[in-house]
């Protein structure tokens, strides 16, 4: 939990990337998420991932991104690379390493699995970069300002989503305390059958839900006391978000990535099938 908090705190650092308009980074992020949809060639995806890593170093978040991804990559990649080949349809032309009734593991299957894994890795890297270079509250205000002024949508929606990040540590703290209280009344969460353990969650869930409801009411009161009007469609946004040349440039790099993918596909280089 503390690590999640630390990760979110990364958004408050200073670098050329951090200073970019949060909306620009959001657009860039959306573009980068389209890339693994268009392209499945693991080499292209790897190149893009490496490029994001270089940017991460430039944004001075390299170490933290490494700390997070060194744990997350293997989980993602490992799971996919190990299981996917088993599901890859077996056809006679493949080079099989292992073939016994329904269990087959071919080189082609492995390559395909690596490609799928690479898509997730690239998307994950882009997401991590985005989260670590963007102050989520700033994103809420820049997005909120845009939504309110251009789209006439109340600030309440982005506010609630982002505000939940403030409450995450408290919720998890409550959960731990409640669990401790039940352990202290001899509730052994680790014993018994799966069904038994499921039943044991019920007494724990009740105080947890109760605390969440209480908190929700407190938040509702606090919002009113701070003059927040959900119906109101106008408020000042203190932080000034300029959309300047750098921001346009950054969004362009995202669009460029998509253009490159389209070109690769036109030259029939974009898909993993070329290796099979």
């Amino acid at each position: 939990m503390a690590f999640v908090l630390q990760m979110l705190e990364m958004g408050k650092r200073k670098s050329w990337f951090h200073r970019l308009n949060p909306n620009a980074k959001l657009l860039w992020w959306i573009c980068l998420l389209i890339v693994p949809i268009l392209v499945t060639n693991p080499l292209i995806l790897l190149a893009m991932t490496v490029w994001i890593w270089f940017m991460a170093i430039g944004a001075r978040i390299g170490k933290q991104m490494y700390q997070f991804l060194i744990v997350t990559y293997p989980v993602m990649i490992g799971f996919i690379v190990i299981t996917w080949p088993f599901f890859y349809a077996a056809t006679p032309e493949q080079h099989f390493l292992f073939n016994w009734s329904v269990f087959h593991f071919s080189l082609e299957g492995l390559i395909y699995a690596v490609a799928m894994g690479m898509r997730i890795v690239m998307a994950l890297t882009a997401c991590t970069f985005f989260v670590m270079t963007t102050d989520l509250m700033d994103l809420a205000s820049s997005l909120g300002e845009f939504m309110q002024n251009r789209l006439r949508i109340s600030y309440m929606y982005p506010l609630m989503v982002i505000s939940s990040f403030k409450f995450l540590p408290e919720l998890s703290g409550d959960y731990i305390t409640i669990l401790d209280a039940f352990k202290s009344r001899a509730l052994d969460m680790d014993s018994g059958s799966f069904l038994d353990r499921l039943k044991k969650i019920v007494p724990v869930a009740i105080p947890l839900i109760d605390s969440m409801l209480r908190r929700a009411q407190n938040i509702a009161i606090a919002l009113e006391l701070k003059a927040f009007n959900t119906a109101n469609k106008s408020r000042t946004f203190y932080k000034e978000h300029h959309f300047g040349a750098s921001d346009f440039f950054f969004v362009f790099t995202g669009i460029l990535a998509i253009i490159l993918c389209v070109i690769f596909n036109l030259f029939k280089l974009g898909k993993v099938e070329i290796f099979l």
């Binding site: 409550d174 305390t177 039940f182 352990k183 202290s184 009344r185 001899a186 724990v204």
Partner: protein, 278 residues
Amino acid sequence: MTEPIIQVENLCYRYATRNHFSVNDVSLSIQPGEFVAIIGQNGSGKTTLVKHFNGLLKPTSGRVVVNGHVTTEKSTSLLAKFVGYVFQNPDHQIFAETVRDEIAFGPKNLGFSEEKIKEVSMKVMNEMGLTGMEEDMPFQLSRGQRQRLAVASVLAMEPSILIIDEPTTGQDWKESMALMELVRELNENGHTCIVTTHNMNLVSLFARRVIVMRQAKISLDGPTQDIFRYGNELKEAWIKPPDIYALAQSILPGVKLDKPIVPEDLAAMLVEKLNGRS
């Protein structure tokens, strides 16, 4: 000399999310039947320390032995057989639909027989002033009643050691006093009682032994009245003895205080001094 019921040896504990130790090389022993108050400001380590007594936390280094069991070898649910822990906020444990079910929960988990459960339930409801409320819904009780229910639910497990974490939060003076009176009664009946608090008035009236924690270490440890003499150490730990102690020490210098004093006692002493003069 009897075996200590709680023995702490060079205990160090560090939370995963912090860089510093929350409990740093603490050693102490508590004899059966003692009434100990562990005081100190938030962050001094007092709650971290007592969470080791029922195994909620396991030492980063050092050893904690409770009732002969080394805590690293036993789960909290096992230690719950003889260590009762009452949490600060009763709403963090109340879940049942009736007061009866709430109280029976702990004993049921411990495997008490039906008759035994009925017997202890009646007893603790009496002790906590909840008789006649078996069918009431816990969520509809007042905050003070819910606090008493939480204590009752723990007492029903018949623990020999009772730990109460910050019993006065959110309570008014009358409720806090009532709770502490009950703890005193339990102590007189043989329970070992440990209370963490920063309310000096209550400490002075009930605890016989005070352990002062400051910055992860024990700063002072001794009989209540003795501890209040150590002005500097208490100040550094942000503990202020009740005003009457400071008054007594200023107006009656050298006064020997070997038991808790209430304003009436001080008044009597002052009047005696004045009458003695004239």
